[in-house]
C-alpha cells in the first residue's frame, strides 16, 4: 500500500529504497520542517502570554516584539534542527566511509523529522497545560521579575507535566532516529551496523543529555 511520504513512519526501509530511485528533492522535507516550525511557534504562545502578564502596561509593546521574535526563532528552529541533524549524520557517516551527497542526506533526514510533528503537537498541549496552570502575581520592579523568572524555572523543571512532555519528546526522537537509521543506510550506502552507529552515537548522547536534564541531575 503506497501512502506517499507517510509510509516513512512505518516502513522507512522500503520508502528510502524507493526514494533512492529518484532524484533528491527537498520539497517534502522542507514542508515537514515548516510544519514543525509552525508548531514550535504556536507552542511559544503560552509562554509569551506569561511574559506579557509579567510586564507592566507601559512595556506591553516590548512584549509584543518579544512574541514576534520568539515565534520567529521557534519557526526557524524547525529548519535549524533539520540542518543540524543532517550535517551531523553526514559527518559521522564519513567515519564509516559513507558515500552519497549531502543533499540526499538532508532529504532523508528531513523525512525522519516527521514524527517530531506529532511530538510537537503533544508537547505544545502539555506546555499549554503547564503554563496555563500558573498564576502571575503583580510585579512592579525588575527585581521581582527576576525572582519570578528564577522561580518559574524551578517550577517548570520540577513539574510532572514537564517531565511527561520531556519523556514524550524522547520517545518521538527515538522514532525519528529509527527512520534516520534506514535513511543513512540508503543515503550514505552504509551497512545496517554502521547506520545504527552513525545515528545512534549522536542521538544516544543527545537523548542521554535530555534524560539527565529531565531528572534534574544537572
Amino acid at each position: 500500500m503506497d501512502t506517499g511520504f507517510l509510509r516513512v513512519l512505518l516502513d522507512p526501509g522500503r520508502f528510502f529504497e524507493a526514494r533512492m530511485q529518484e532524484e533528491p528533492s527537498l520539497k517534502v522535507p522542507a514542508l515537514i520542517a515548516i510544519v514543525i516550525g509552525l508548531i514550535g511557534a504556536v507552542s511559544t504562545i503560552p509562554m509569551t502570554d506569561l511574559t506579557m502578564a509579567m510586564l507592566p502596561a507601559e512595556m506591553q509593546g516590548l512584549g509584543l516584539l518579544m512574541t514576534v521574535i520568539s515565534a520567529g526563532v521557534a519557526f526557524i528552529g524547525g529548519f535549524l534542527a533539520w540542518a543540524i541533524y543532517g550535517v551531523v549524520f553526514h559527518i559521522v557517516s564519513l567515519i564509516f566511509k559513507g558515500q552519497g551527497s549531502l543533499e540526499r542526506t538532508m532529504e532523508f533526514t528531513g523525512y525522519g523529522l516527521l514524527p517530531q510533528i506529532f511530538g510537537g503537537i503533544i508537547g505544545t498541549y502539555f506546555s499549554y497545560r503547564l503554563l496555563s496552570g500558573l498564576s502571575i502575581p503583580s510585579m512592579t520592579s525588575p527585581e521581582q521579575m527576576v525572582e519570578f523568572s528564577e522561580n518559574l524555572v524551578a517550577v517548570l523543571t520540577t513539574s510532572p507535566l514537564a517531565q511527561i512532555a520531556g519523556l514524550v519528546s524522547i520517545l518521538f526522537l527515538v522514532w525519528s532516529a529509527n527512520i534516520w537509521i534506514f535513511g543513512m543506510k540508503h543515503a550514505r550506502g552504509l551497512s545496517t551496523r554502521d547506520a545504527v552507529l552513525t545515528v545512534g552515537i549522536p542521538m544516544g548522547l543527545y537523548i542521554l543529555y535530555m534524560l539527565i536534564t529531565l531528572t534534574g541531575w544537572l
Binding site: 513512519l9 503547564l130 500558573l134 498564576s135 522561580n151 520540577t158 513539574s159 507535566l161 520517545l171
Partner: protein, 380 residues
C-alpha cells in the same frame, strides 16, 4: 457530884455519840483529778469535763448534789441532783458537757459538791483553756506558671500550732475550672507543732482560684481553714521553645517546598514534635507533615514540608506542635514569607502527585513508537 448528875451527863454523852453522823464534813472529800476532752477548746467547742473526787476520811460521807457553773465555759449537761454516800477510800467521777462560749483564755468553771445534813459544800474551780488558733496551711511547691490543660504538682503542708493534737486532718481542693488528683488528701492526727504534706496533680482548664480546705477535728468539733491558691496562666520559664531557623522556600510544581531547621531553645524537652504548614496553605504530598519526634533542650533537627497556596498568598505560618512530659499539647507558629512568585496548582496534579492522564499518554506513545519501530524492522 451527885450520882444523878453523873448519870444525866453520861446519858447525854451516849446520846451525842449516837446522833453525830460519821460523815462529819467536806474536809474528808477531795477532788483528786479533773480532765477535759479535748484538752484545749476552741471558741464554740463542746468538750467533756470529768471530775473525780475521793473520800480520804475514815467515815462515809453523804453528798446531796454535784453541779458545775461558771461563765466563759458553760455547762451543757444537767447537774447531779442526788449523789449519795461515798465510803471511806472510795472515789466518784462526775462528767459534764461544757461549751466555750467566751473568748480565748483560761476559764475556771466551779465544781460544787453539796453535803447533806448541813455539812456545807465543796467548791473546786476547774481550769479550762480556750485557744482559737487554727491549723496553718501553706503551699510549699507549685510551678512557676500555670498553663491551660497542663498538669501541675501542688504540695500543701499543714502544720499544727495549737497546744493540743488535731485529729482527722484532711485537705480538700475546692473550686471550679480545674481537675485534681487526688480529690482529697488525708493526713490524720497531727501532734502539737507537727506537720504533714499532701501533693495534688492539678490541671486547670481556666484561670481560677483553687481553695484548699483543711478540715480537722478538735475532740468532737469539726473545724476548717481555707488556703486559696490563685491560678493565673503565664509562660513557664522552663518550657520547651521550638524555634524555626535557616528557612529556604522553593517553588515546586503545584506549590512550594519549605526546608529549614527547628531547634529547642527551651529548658525542657519537646516531645512528639510535628511540623506542618498552616492555613491558608494546603499541605500536599510528599511532605504534608514532618515528624521530628523528641527535641531535647538545645537539640536541632531539619524539616521539610510541601504545600499549595493561593496566588495572593505572600506569607504562611509554619506550625510546630509538640507535647510536654505530661502529654499536654502546645503549638507554636512561625510566619514564613513566600517571596514574589506564586505558583497556582496545576490541573490534574492538585495534590502535587504525578498526573495519571499524562502517564497514560506516555505509555500509549511508547507502545505506538515501539510498534512502529518493530514493524519497520520487520518489513526491512
Amino acid at each position: 457530884m451527885k450520882p444523878l448528875n453523873v448519870l444525866i451527863i453520861s446519858l447525854l454523852c451516849a446520846a451525842m455519840a449516837f446522833t453525830v453522823p460519821a460523815s462529819a464534813g467536806p474536809a474528808d472529800i477531795a477532788v483528786v483529778s479533773s480532765s477535759l476532752d479535748p484538752s484545749v477548746l476552741m471558741k464554740g467547742d463542746t468538750g467533756t469535763l470529768t471530775v473525780t473526787i475521793q473520800n480520804t476520811g475514815a467515815e462515809t460521807v453523804a453528798i446531796r448534789s454535784a453541779r458545775l457553773y461558771g461563765s466563759g465555759v458553760v455547762p451543757l449537761s444537767e447537774p447531779y441532783p442526788s449523789v449519795g454516800e461515798i465510803g471511806t477510800g472510795n472515789s466518784k467521777t462526775f462528767t459534764f458537757s461544757v461549751r466555750a462560749d467566751g473568748g480565748e483564755g483560761t476559764f475556771y468553771p466551779t465544781f460544787v459538791l453539796d453535803f447533806r445534813d448541813g455539812g456545807g459544800s465543796l467548791r473546786y474551780p476547774v481550769p479550762i483553756q480556750v485557744v482559737d488558733t487554727p491549723l496553718s496551711a501553706s503551699v510549699i511547691q507549685k510551678p512557676d506558671a500555670f498553663a491551660e490543660s497542663r498538669t501541675a504538682d501542688i504540695t500543701v503542708r499543714v502544720g499544727n500550732p495549737r497546744p493540743n493534737a488535731a485529729s482527722g486532718v484532711q485537705v480538700i481542693p475546692q473550686g471550679s475550672g480545674f481537675t485534681v488528683t487526688p480529690t482529697g488528701g488525708f493526713i490524720g492526727a497531727l501532734a502539737p507543732d507537727a506537720s504533714g504534706t499532701v501533693t495534688f496533680n492539678l490541671t486547670p482548664t481556666a484561670e481560677t482560684d483553687v481553695t484548699f480546705q483543711v478540715v480537722w477535728r478538735n475532740g468532737i468539733n469539726t473545724h476548717t481553714a481555707d488556703l486559696v491558691l490563685p491560678v493565673a496562666f503565664g509562660e513557664d520559664k522552663k518550657q520547651a521553645d521550638p524555634v524555626i531557623t535557616n528557612v529556604e522556600v522553593t517553588p515546586i510544581a503545584g506549590g512550594y517546598r519549605i526546608v529549614g531547621d527547628v531547634m529547642n531553645a527551651g529548658l525542657e524537652s519537646a516531645r512528639s514534635v510535628i511540623i506542618s504548614p498552616g492555613a491558608p496553605a494546603t499541605a500536599i504530598d510528599p511532605f504534608r507533615v514532618y515528624v521530628v519526634g523528641t527535641l531535647d533542650p538545645d537539640d536541632i533537627s531539619s524539616f521539610e514540608v510541601t504545600f499549595r497556596a493561593d496566588a495572593n498568598t505572600t506569607e504562611i505560618p509554619v506550625v510546630v506542635e509538640y507535647r510536654d512530659n505530661d502529654g499536654n499539647r502546645y503549638t507554636a507558629s512561625t510566619p514564613i514569607g513566600l517571596g514574589g512568585m506564586t505558583a497556582a496548582p496545576i490541573e490534574g496534579s492538585e495534590d502535587g502527585g504525578f498526573p495519571v492522564a499524562g502517564l497514560l499518554v506516555v505509555v500509549l506513545v511508547a507502545l505506538g513508537v515501539a510498534g512502529a519501530i518493530y514493524y519497520s524492522w520487520k518489513r526491512a
